[in-house]
Assembly symmetry: C2
Homo-oligomer: 500 residues x 2
């Protein structure tokens, strides 16, 4: 049933060498060869022209069929994903629903009016001094796309996840680099897509998947001349290395890397005073959710020293101390988390630790505390720790809180805890600073939980992502795989259907 093979041009194919697949129902996965990468990229290019010429209706049916085929394999997928990721069943069932929902959302999007964005300037034959020609503009797909899935969303941001769904909706064939942390889950989802390809009579190479070790496999994929764009969710180090390769190609290509951030939560004075305790409890719940393994995990909370901040601190200590350890996604992630926490331990004081983490791959929530002056003086504290570690930053006054905001790197999100109208002035001072640094700004919530909708921006200034002009979640994501093209004085018989 499961092979650890690659899916190349419609055929499951093995390689000479294999890699371990720990915690997986698979005993091992095959290491894709250079020749196999070349074959997959060429097959994707060959599939591009017929696939991009399919009707919107056919493409929408294909996306829906993928959702249906995933649904039909639901229990198997959940079982494999539980074994591989350590995530609980309910979370994975919910994530599968989200994955199918994304596919259906993009099917609806491309069927709706307004896709693709078209423009028309009619000819003005009598204009002086020169007539204006007829100009029509539409948006066309870029070409074959390589997708790197995320460890923390083995379904919604992986094989048939957001990038795959939006790229297929745009008309781009996809080559997925299978994630080494969930190869069996990936293979089952790839089988679902394969079944949808067959049902919908799509070109076989419209979806392919290969397995292989980092960094050589990824490097080979993104440097292939037939690859036109790349979607990536993962670490800053791996993402930046691939971004650099894409930019250095003889023909550079777009690289969309979503690299995570520390997602600051600013607690304004009135909110702290009236509900500091509740904010503290909410923060720890958001911080510890899913072992803190979310790109939008709120890794830092900032407030001005006050009775409200003390009340917040009290509930933070209480909630964090009670927080249970949770299984993390991989051994490596768990080790990196433990190392990062030990590093922080040496730099700032520990406010509270969760229950003891015994057993395999367990991550223990930890909350640290520091003064804003120390935080500002220690750039190491400004980077993401992947896991349930948070830092409470206490400021002397609002000017110092503003200085913390100014010192932030690019963020996926920034949150304001505020009570109107009392906190309006403080919020107005912070907002322009946060707008320059974040892709999404929240009010009185927590950033974990990224809604899939038309008004979502999931991305942000570097290093939150490598392209702040693009989102990886929501319908706007389809734009990352499209480019404008103009037709001048073209007979209507010859233009694309959406321009007729």
């Amino acid at each position: 049933m499961l092979t650890g093979h690659h899916l190349i041009d419609g055929t499951w194919t093995g390689s000479d060498s294999q890699l371990d697949a720990p915690d997986s129902p698979l005993r091992g996965v095959h290491q894709v060869s250079e020749a196999q990468i070349d074959a997959a990229a060429r097959a994707a290019r060959a599939a591009f022209r017929p696939y991009s010429a399919t009707s919107i209706e056919a493409r929408a049916r294909f996306l829906t069929a993928i959702a249906e085929e995933i649904d039909a394999r639901g229990d198997q997928i959940t079982e494999a994903a539980m074994a591989e990721s350590g995530l609980p069943e309910a979370r994975l069932v919910g994530e599968r629903g989200r994955t199918m929902g994304q596919l259906r959302l993009f099917a609806d999007l491309i069927l709706a009016d307004g896709f693709p964005d078209t423009r028309h300037d009619a000819a003005l034959p009598d204009r002086q001094p020169l007539p204006r020609p007829d100009l029509q503009l539409t948006h066309i797909p870029l070409g074959p796309v390589v997708v790197f899935g995320a460890s923390n969303f083995p379904l919604a941001f992986s094989t048939a996840g957001g990038d795959t769904a939006s790229a297929l909706a745009a008309g781009c064939p996809v080559i997925v680099k299978g994630h080494p942390a969930h190869p069996a889950t990936g293979e089952l989802v790839a089988q679902a897509i394969e079944a949808a390809v067959a049902r919908c009579e799509m070109p076989k190479a419209v979806f392919q998947m290969v397995h292989g070790a980092a960094p050589a496999t990824g490097a080979g994929l993104v440097q292939h001349p037939e690859v036109a764009a790349v979607g990536f969710t993962g670490s800053l180090g791996a993402g930046r290395a691939l971004f650099d390769l894409c930019a250095a190609r003889p023909k550079p290509i777009p690289f969309y890397g979503e690299l995570g951030s520390i997602n600051p939560v600013f607690c304004l004075p009135n909110a702290l005073e009236t509900r500091g305790a509740a904010i503290g409890a909410g923060w720890v719940a958001s911080l510890a959710m899913g072992a803190g393994q979310f790109c939008t995990n709120p890794g830092v909370l900032i407030g001005v020293k006050s009775a409200g901040l003390e009340a917040l601190e009290t509930t933070v200590v209480q909630a964090a101390t009670e927080a249970a350890p949770q299984k993390m996604l991989t051994d490596r992630i768990c080790e990196s988390y433990a190392k990062a926490v030990a590093d922080l331990d040496g730099k700032i004081s520990t406010l509270a630790r969760g229950q003891d983490a015994t057993g395999d791959r367990m991550g223990q929530p930890v909350v640290f505390k520091t003064d804003a002056a120390a935080w500002l003086a220690t750039p190491d504290l400004h980077h993401e720790v992947f896991g349930a570690a948070g830092i409470l930053v206490a400021c002397e006054d609002e000017a110092e809180m503003l200085a913390v905001a100014e010192a932030l790197e690019g963020q996926l999100t920034a949150t304001l805890q505020l009570d109107m109208p009392g906190d309006a002035a403080s919020a107005r001072a912070l907002l322009p600073v946060l707008e320059e640094r974040a892709g999404r700004i929240l009010c009185n919530g927590f950033p974990t939980g990224v809604e899939v909708c038309s008004a979502m921006m999931h991305g942000g200034p570097y290093p939150a992502s490598t392209d702040s002009r693009s989102t990886s979640v929501g319908t706007l994501a389809i734009q990352r795989w499209l480019r404008p093209i103009s037709y001048q004085d073209m007979p209507l018989d010859l233009v694309r259907p959406e321009l007729r």
Copy 2:
């Protein structure tokens, strides 16, 4: 009146060292220092927050005021530009009109409904299993922009040209790297913008200009940490070098380089048969216009060997032989053109030469001819020659014409000369190939003349531009300076005006 100084934070400032300014009313221009680049970038960053917070109406008035101030200096500007660029008066008057038209177009664009693109997903508090928050999305400016003007459009693609107009409209301060081929023209236009800044009470550093030698000056500008994006029109070599610097920054930034192309013209059999002679005459007229110094100059014409192609060739020889030499933009461009023509001379046969080019900086039109097999085997023939040099490529059959299309690099434009319905099948075979390679596809016209409108795409796959997702001409250009941002559950009092 003219100083050769830089305009930094509202003050005209000189430097210790100077550069020659040949053919300019200026005796020399100052070489900007590293400290001055730093001062300009910091001033632009300081101006960004207040400028991006100005109302749409205030920004539109500012753009209109720039157009008015340019108009008020019209004769002076034309005189300086004639001396510096060698372009004729009528052309420069027309280009000034286009420059003012662009500024007014962007003023209208931002005042109109639909700017900026906003989206709203209302809260669903009763949704199961989780409520949906309220999400609003808008687009905000990226930050300070550096603009490199073009030698071939000293007005419309330079100091107050397309990139400057779209960036200012988007809410981004602009630092122009003054073009060394037209420093006096640039200074006069900068004075016009300075007057508009004063009239509209805009932050002084919303527009700045510095002079300096390539490549160090450009490198210093694009690597400055406060610079958020770059617009460039120029050569592949210079553009790629700056692109590489932008990608290699600690925090990479978008670089929009419009680098030119050979703009192939495909003559389909029926069109050749019925009007080969007319197509030939039209081609030479487009090729020789403005000494061939357009990004959209049609450098290659492709047809299948036939009586029609012979008729075309006859008029090409006639028209090219009669074509007068024209003054080129700079000594260096003229020398590069002569060298490129000499190189081609050694590789393929010369079909016709224009009238003798005697005198300073004169470029002589030349048309070459080769077989498709030789063209396909000689990648050197696939690159742009900046000037009035064209290659007629004769194919054995339509399959060979398709092979020429497949061998093309990325193009700004591709043109089909066709007669419907006879050429429909040939056009349908070529179109998917050309769509993958070009930003604009024309029918029965010539690509010189780029309409400034909402349906224009002026850009294309690399090396035509460094970002095929973006245009440098037309209203869509404003998108290159914007990024999406989401607001979640934000009180309406705090969101940007367009979301209220």
